[in-house]
């Protein structure tokens, strides 16, 4: 294992400290229990958005805390769900009285721990459960489909609604709508290593790829031999389209997400190849996002997310945002 680390025990703490120091104008990191809030308090009457999950997927979710997105994020240990004491401490800090919306990726550990936090907290709360990964119905860490990169889209769009005065119920409904209108699928060329484990999460040959991989390297649909970028892109899009069924001339967001170990050069190449295919189907790419947002440590690979857009979603996608990982309009 080659990693920038001093000890497995201090890995997360030092990374959080660096994140907090580098972005002190945007966020505030709290320790024991670990949670990240905005540098400025949630304004009165605004629904507070709290997300979280295992670490190792940065910038998700800490990098998505800030104006127009999350109010707080709870990072668990690497690839391990956060615990209710973290959520409760975050609630304490950011709940302004208008209620709390938890945004949770569908992974068993995350679901159970957020559920417990919701039961234990005082005051109104709702949860949006993302399950955009079309690859497999159940997998090694999940009952039902996995929640992956579309969580970023949910957090952006609902974050905007909350910023503009949306009620708890409205935010919950919009979050569910974005999730339902989104589909994702990923592919991995190499494995990833959890610092505490010290060895790769799975084995994969030099000429192989895991098609439909999960964000912890959990198995997808099949193990394939390497193919051309256009072929891989087509297969990912076909799998998503089969589920999402976008119609001709329908507006979509095309989001090409890196898993951590694939250069932007290749992500833009995927974007080009995806555009080729979507153009042929007359699907209208009206918004785009390319970059490393929902990563899997140093895994080489990428995922594609499509979100079907309407006027409301476009408006909230375009609105101002200022987080460590996404910033436009301000």
């Amino acid at each position: 294992m080659k990693k920038f680390m001093n000890s497995a025990d201090d890995f997360l703490k030092e990374s959080l400290q660096g994140f907090g120091a580098a972005h002190q104008d945007i966020v505030n990191c709290n320790y024991d229990p670990n949670f990240i809030t905005r540098a400025t308090p949630t304004k009165e009457g605004k629904v507070a958005l709290i997300s979280g999950g295992g670490s190792g997927h940065e910038p998700m979710h800490g990098g998505l805390v800030g104006y127009g997105m999350l109010d707080a994020a709870c990072p668990g240990f690497v690839f391990s769900s956060p615990t209710p004491d973290q959520m409760l401490a975050a609630v304490e800090k950011v709940d302004s009285g208008a209620g709390v919306l938890f945004i949770v990726k569908n992974y068993s550990g995350d679901v159970m721990n957020f559920q417990m936090a919701a039961e234990m907290m005082q005051g109104p709360n709702e949860s949006v459960l993302t399950n955009d990964d079309v690859a497999v119905e159940d997998s090694s860490f999940t009952t039902g489909r996995r929640g992956v990169a579309a969580t970023v889209v949910v957090e952006k769009i609902v974050g905007s609604l909350a910023e503009h005065g949306g009620s708890l119920q409205e935010c919950k409904a919009l979050g569910d709508k974005v999730n339902k209108n989104s589909g994702s699928m990923g592919v991995a060329f190499s494995s990833c290593t959890v610092p505490a484990a010290g060895k790769p999460n799975f084995d994969i040959g030099d000429d192989e790829m895991e098609f439909g991989v999960g964000i912890h390297g959990e198995p997808g649909r099949r193990r394939d031999k390497m193919k051309s970028a256009q072929e891989i892109t087509n297969e990912l899009l076909e799998a998503i389209n089969e589920d999402l069924k976008p119609e001709a001339n329908e507006e979509i967001l095309l989001f090409v997400n890196g898993m951590g170990g694939t250069p932007l050069t290749e992500l833009y190449l995927i974007y080009d190849n995806a555009k080729n295919m979507l153009d042929k189907k007359n699907i209208n790419i009206s918004r785009s996002l390319v970059g490393n947002f929902c990563t899997s440590l140093e895994m080489q690979g990428a995922s594609i997310t499509l979100t079907k857009l309407d006027e409301e979603l476009v408006k909230h996608w375009d609105s101002n945002v200022h987080t460590a990982a996404m910033r436009w309009g301000m």
């Binding site: 229990p33 668990g76 240990f77 391990s80 769900s81 956060p82 615990t83 209710p84 004491d85 973290q86 068993s108 550990g109 159970m112 721990n113 559920q115 417990m116 159940d138 997998s139 090694s140 860490f141 009952t143 959990e218 198995p219």
Partner: protein
């Protein structure tokens, strides 16, 4: 059942789990991801370390402290499931005024039911529920049938063992082993084994007291 009782049983469980650690670890490496034994050992250690904090507390508060400790200290799905067990037991009616064996069985059964809801797993899915649910049912039935407490506990030990062995031929549909499909067959579930050992330890300890 007193707080002192809980602490002593935790210490006995620690000894039994440690003695069987390599077997449990091997079971988990075959069908899981190998971390179950560490989670269990860490959880028990955290509970024992709470001794000074909880020994003079009323039962409900002590159980709640245990719940919060395993919840944050083990983390993941295991922390949530064991946290749910103790948190539900802590809510037992009138438990601060003494817990006899009937009350202990009642709150344990409530806890197991809550764990079942939390994990959405039932008997026959190759998890620790294949031990906990039959044991809970056996204990409740024993009380309903007015059986002698020693009879009930002896039966529970047998039911736990039967439940544990039943996971060997099951196909996993929940938890880590579920991805393996047919490949998980022929292996005892590590969570079923560790919970069976815990049940056996507590029951035998009461029988020998």
């Amino acid at each position: 059942m007193s707080v002192n009782f809980l602490i002593h049983r935790a210490k006995e469980i620690q000894a039994v789990i440690d003695a069987n650690a390599s077997e449990i670890e091997k079971l988990d490496q075959e069908i899981g991801d190998g971390d179950h034994i560490f989670n269990v050992q860490r959880g028990i250690k955290l509970v024992i370390e709470l001794e000074a904090v909880i020994k003079d507390l009323p039962m409900s508060k002590a159980l709640n402290q245990i719940a919060m400790k395993v919840l944050s200290g083990i983390g993941g799905s295991s922390g949530a499931l064991f946290g749910t067990l103790f948190m539900t037991m802590a809510k037992g009616n009138d438990i601060d005024n003494g817990v006899d064996y009937k009350k202990a069985i009642e709150i344990f059964a409530d806890g197991v039911e809550a764990v079942k809801q939390r994990g959405k797993a039932d008997v026959g899915e190759k998890t620790m529920m294949d031990v906990l649910i039959p044991v809970s049912n056996c204990l409740k039935k024993g009380v309903d049938d007015n059986k002698d407490v020693k009879e009930i506990l002896k039966e529970a030990i047998e039911v736990a063992e039967k439940g544990m062995f039943s996971t060997k031929d099951l196909l996993a549909t929940k938890g880590r082993a579920s991805f393996l499909g047919e490949r998980a067959k022929g292996h005892i579930d590590p969570g079923a084994r560790s919970s069976q050992l815990m049940i056996k330890t507590v029951c035998e300890s009461v029988l020998n007291s």
